[in-house]
C-alpha cells in the first residue's frame, strides 16, 4: 500500500517527528511504499543540517537523512513554510539573497502542490503534528 505522510512539528519539540519516523520504518519493513514525506508548518525544521543534539539522545535529522538514503524516500520541505522559518537550500538561499543555506542531505524544498499530489497518488494519508 502507498502511504503519504505529513509532519507538522519540528525535531525534539514535539513527538510528531519521532512517531512518524517509527511508523515509516515499520511500514517499510512490511513492504509498504512511502510515496512522500511532506514537512509542513514547523515540520520544516526537521530539514536543517545544523542540529547537534546531545550525544546520549537520538539524532532526528540524521536519522531522516539516513532513512531517505537507504529507502530512496522523498522528503519534501514546503517552500512557503521553510521561508517563514529559515530553512533554505542553495537555490532558495540565492533567490532570497541569503549568504548560506542549511538544508540537510536527503531533503528537497518544493511547493505545497507536492502535498496534494502525494495525497492523490497514495492510498492513505497520515498527519503527525501538534
Amino acid at each position: 500500500m502507498k502511504f503519504s505522510i505529513a509532519i507538522h512539528e519540528g525535531p525534539y519539540t514535539h513527538e510528531a517527528s519521532d512517531t512518524a519516523y517509527q511508523f515509516i520504518v515499520a511500514a517499510l519493513e512490511k513492504g509498504h511504499e512511502i510515496f512522500r514525506v511532506f514537512f509542513y508548518h514547523d515540520g520544516v525544521n526537521n530539514g536543517t543540517r545544523l542540529t547537534t543534539p546531545p550525544q546520549d539522545d537520538r539524532n532526528i535529522v540524521k536519522r531522516w537523512s539516513e532513512l531517505a538514503e537507504k529507502h530512496s524516500l522523498d522528503l519534501v520541505v514546503c517552500v512557503a513554510a521553510a521561508q517563514r522559518r529559515g530553512i533554505a537550500d542553495a537555490d532558495e538561499s540565492k533567490r532570497n539573497g541569503k549568504d548560506t543555506d542549511n538544508i540537510a542531505p536527503g531533503f528537497r524544498i518544493s511547493g505545497l502542490g507536492q502535498l496534494i499530489e502525494s495525497c492523490i497518488q497514495s492510498d492513505r494519508h497520515l498527519t503527525f503534528g501538534d
Binding site: 500500500m1 502511504f3 507538522h8 513527538e15 510528531a16 512517531t19 517509527q22 511508523f23 520504518v25 515499520a26 511500514a27 519493513e29 512490511k30 509498504h32 492510498d123 492513505r124 494519508h125 497520515l126 498527519t127 503527525f128 503534528g129 501538534d130
Partner: protein, 99 residues
C-alpha cells in the same frame, strides 16, 4: 476509518471531538500523550469505558512504556506496536489524525 488521538485528555479537547465526530464502529488509536486516556482509575476512565461500547480502542505500546503506564491499561484496549499501527492504517479505509 482509523482515528488517531495524540493529546492528553486532561489538557486538550481532541479526544472529546474525536468521540463526537467518529462514526460508530470506528477504530481509535491513542498515541503520544493521547495514551493517558487509556488508563484505569483516572477521572477520564469512565468516559473512555463508555466510548468503548461504540468504538474499538487501541493504544501505542511504545508510548505507554515511555510514560511508565503500561501496567494500568483499561481491559479491552488493545496495545499495539508501530507495526500494529501500520496494520490499523491499512485495514481501515482511511486515517483521521486528531491533533
Amino acid at each position: 476509518m482509523l482515528h488517531t488521538v495524540n493529546k492528553s485528555p486532561y489538557t486538550k479537547n481532541s479526544l472529546d471531538t474525536c468521540l463526537r465526530l467518529a462514526k460508530e464502529g470506528s477504530a481509535i488509536l491513542l498515541i503520544e500523550d493521547g495514551v493517558y486516556a487509556a488508563l484505569t482509575g483516572s477521572e477520564v476512565t469512565s468516559k473512555v469505558e463508555a466510548a468503548m461500547k461504540k468504538f474499538t480502542f487501541y493504544a501505542l505500546g511504545a508510548d505507554l512504556d515511555a510514560r511508565g503506564v503500561q501496567d494500568r491499561v483499561i481491559d479491552g484496549i488493545t496495545v499495539v506496536d508501530y507495526a500494529g499501527f501500520v496494520n490499523l492504517a491499512t485495514e481501515n479505509s482511511g486515517v483521521q489524525s486528531w491533533l
